[in-house]
Symmetry: C2
Subunit: 538 residues, 2 copies
Amino acid sequence: MRLWNGWGNEDSDLTMELSDGLRALLEALVGPGTALSQATLNEVIAKVPNTRLDDHPQINTDPETRVRHARGQSLPDWLEMHSGNVDTFPDGVAFPESSEQVRELLAHAKENNLIVIPYGGGTSVVGHINPETSDKPVLTIDMAKMNSMLSIDTESQLATFGAGAPGPVVEEELKKHGYTLGHFPQSWELSTLGGWVASRSSGQQSLHYGRIENMFAGGTIETLNGTMKIPTIPASSAGPDVREMILGSEGRMGIITEVTVRITPLPEKEKFQVIFFPSWEIGISAARELIQQRVALSMVRLSNPLETTSLLYMGAGSDSSGVVALEESLSKKGIGEGKVMMTFGVTGSARHCDAAYQLALDHCNGLGGVADESGLGENWAHGRFRAPYLRDPLGAEGYVVDTMETAVDWSKVSEAAENIEQAIRTALDDEGEQVHAYTHLSHVYGQGSSIYTTYLFRIGKSYEQGMNRWMKLKKAGADQIVAHGGTISHQHGVGSDHKNYLTAEKGKLGIAAINSLCEQFDPKGQMNPGKLLPDDKH
Amino acid sequence: MRLWNGWGNEDSDLTMELSDGLRALLEALVGPGTALSQATLNEVIAKVPNTRLDDHPQINTDPETRVRHARGQSLPDWLEMHSGNVDTFPDGVAFPESSEQVRELLAHAKENNLIVIPYGGGTSVVGHINPETSDKPVLTIDMAKMNSMLSIDTESQLATFGAGAPGPVVEEELKKHGYTLGHFPQSWELSTLGGWVASRSSGQQSLHYGRIENMFAGGTIETLNGTMKIPTIPASSAGPDVREMILGSEGRMGIITEVTVRITPLPEKEKFQVIFFPSWEIGISAARELIQQRVALSMVRLSNPLETTSLLYMGAGSDSSGVVALEESLSKKGIGEGKVMMTFGVTGSARHCDAAYQLALDHCNGLGGVADESGLGENWAHGRFRAPYLRDPLGAEGYVVDTMETAVDWSKVSEAAENIEQAIRTALDDEGEQVHAYTHLSHVYGQGSSIYTTYLFRIGKSYEQGMNRWMKLKKAGADQIVAHGGTISHQHGVGSDHKNYLTAEKGKLGIAAINSLCEQFDPKGQMNPGKLLPDDKH
């Protein structure tokens, strides 16, 4: 069973403990943490009010089930669940097993004027699935039981799944036929196909496989106004693309029940390589050149100097002698202070991988890059879903870590990255509180790059203090994102946390257009209200 | 100056005449043509009614200007213009020079309840820019004067143009900086950037450069409800993509005035190669394998047996000895009757081109393909914008040629292509009239392919008979497209000719959603009414 208030499953062997080395490093960076007492599941269950829903054969109103669907995985969610300061719960949770059952539930919701929250893996980090305070009863519809592969067409490289299928099920089913979806967001172990579509997700190897926008070929959406079937068509000039209305709809238009995705034969070969460059600017140029020269990589990730050092030393734990040796060796090759670390990947046929790998190496060497020979690339691949597991052991010692991310054109990358990171780093200066912030480029495009800033700070003396700090950090980072013309989210979505920054990106007419779409499908505003659209929708 | 009733400019040296060989071939295929008398420009000008517009400094109400903006380049347009049977004209034409002037014109239109038709190159083949019969005065806004490059950001590989910039201006301006857009639809010489966005255009090398959806990074749209600015952002998970609402909007939401596109450095090298395969099925497999193996080509085009033979002999004209020799030589290599012709292209750096070219050749050879050594690939590239010029000389001798196109998943390609072509070939059987129809795949995707059928028939004894034949042919082809789950248009758009087939593709809810977007921007239905949306919009 999933942890009720953290990342992963209760029986996972991936629970982590902080090493003494990491603890010492954290103390040095932001000061000693203060462990706070944590609410128990029973304490939170005791806070669940009586349901406002009438009995319904498909709806579970058990308080524990309602607690387990009350929050996602954002930092505010974590703080609320751990402090026990949870004040909204769904009134009930349904687990439909078919599109027909979803239609029945929506008809029931329409008749009884319920609020409906579609629920996939519950991994949202921006408040997508949290119930708002509302006069109306709230029904969460958990898609977990609609998780099968329904059909596969290998000739057209298409497969259809129930929208509740999580990453591992998708890959396991496709693997039986020799295929992969290749969509690996960091939440991959728990997040679902329907959730990826609803939140316009991007995976670690999207440079090869595409973002979910490129994979989503069609599907079925159940709405309060009827069923919408989107047929699979390779490309069309016939008017605005209906797929694009559903992508990023965040449950506001309906419930995605079936998803057809474009699949790819399992790769013959896959390789990840770390390259060090002497400076952030040179690293950025190298990343830009690789993508603009269309070197056929599966990923390019570039850590800035502070992230490079942080990751090397955090990864090393108590014994940093290996890192020291690596740094000495790099230094002899001209890669010293200010160095940055790039990880690139290749995937596909052996012939393709070998050619792309060599082309990438040649480019990097030409720009002063030095290839790692100690297997750091494979280490990255091995640990690439682990970061979320670290939040609980950190939190237990009074530290929290969160991230902010955007994407901007290349001509703005350097300045935006610096200013976002700096704004976050200094956001708690008024409290004299240190924030450790570092940045990487996680996804590159011909036009620009995503910017992903990780920040670590102390919760403080209370969960309330932690929440207050988080709000200051979020605002500081988001204001810089908006000031640099970046998207408020490259890969996490809007939810409730980002909605009031959306007008800067879409414009008033764009917001009004999205609102008109939502109203078309959901005239009374019953579907996931309070998410996606800003409070002032016009 | 543009021809008033045909393709190209009055002083073009690309006007063609039919060779005796082609004339004999046409007679053999569909019978002798009957030349019909053609209306003169003055005869059509004489039919122009008085304008219903009040004087306005920006609006030209001269009858000739109104004739020259009355029709696009569809076959019905051609028949109407040549017969002089034109019954609707815009009441006036404006040629704004700035977004501010467009805003003034829209304010004027709003105040006076005018119909507004945005006009780019006037090259629509589905009735996009034709005025409907209406009680309201019709104002066509021709974007020809907003055709400059406004800015370029080579670091982010972005350039902004006035939306009226036609293909050659776009390429000429970018070339000065060492860049290309790489968007080459067959209408490239005359069609415009704004028109490409409004109609979701696809170019001949879109496999490398992407469709216009992939190139359109942002821009400005003037609507009756205000100005919409879409910022350039490389990728975003922040809700539905506003760009995708404008792409394919066909003038229903507003007038695109500025377009920012993703550009690419001019290629070091470019090559087009023809390969012959022994059969249509083997050719389809080869095309599918090339794309699904992600061989980095710029285009793959595959003619079916009838198109292969037709193109070879039509291209040869009176002296077919070269074709006979080619066929004999191919026959010795096992490529005989039923053979098909593939053209593939590579573009980019020399290193990239050489690798992709060799990989493609290896794949093709492995599937029984034989590479042409007589330069047919370069011939194709040389003549690739010529087909539209052939319509006038054909028409002058009583023949008309038109095309229908769609895209379907690979598992449906073979059957759909056969049934569409066959439906068109037999659509005039009740008149005992021959139709020469042949097909190629023009754009391939991992999931499927476009299908492009060309058909040639005799106008008959009158333009009315020609129009009646065309309607039967269109319906026969479109019904088969719908029956096979294809898009009603992969690259031409919807306009008026395809609008009543759109519900089959988008579903009732999808149509209602698109309609709600149009109403959001244009509550009174003044923008290009009668296009895109089916007559029954809900």
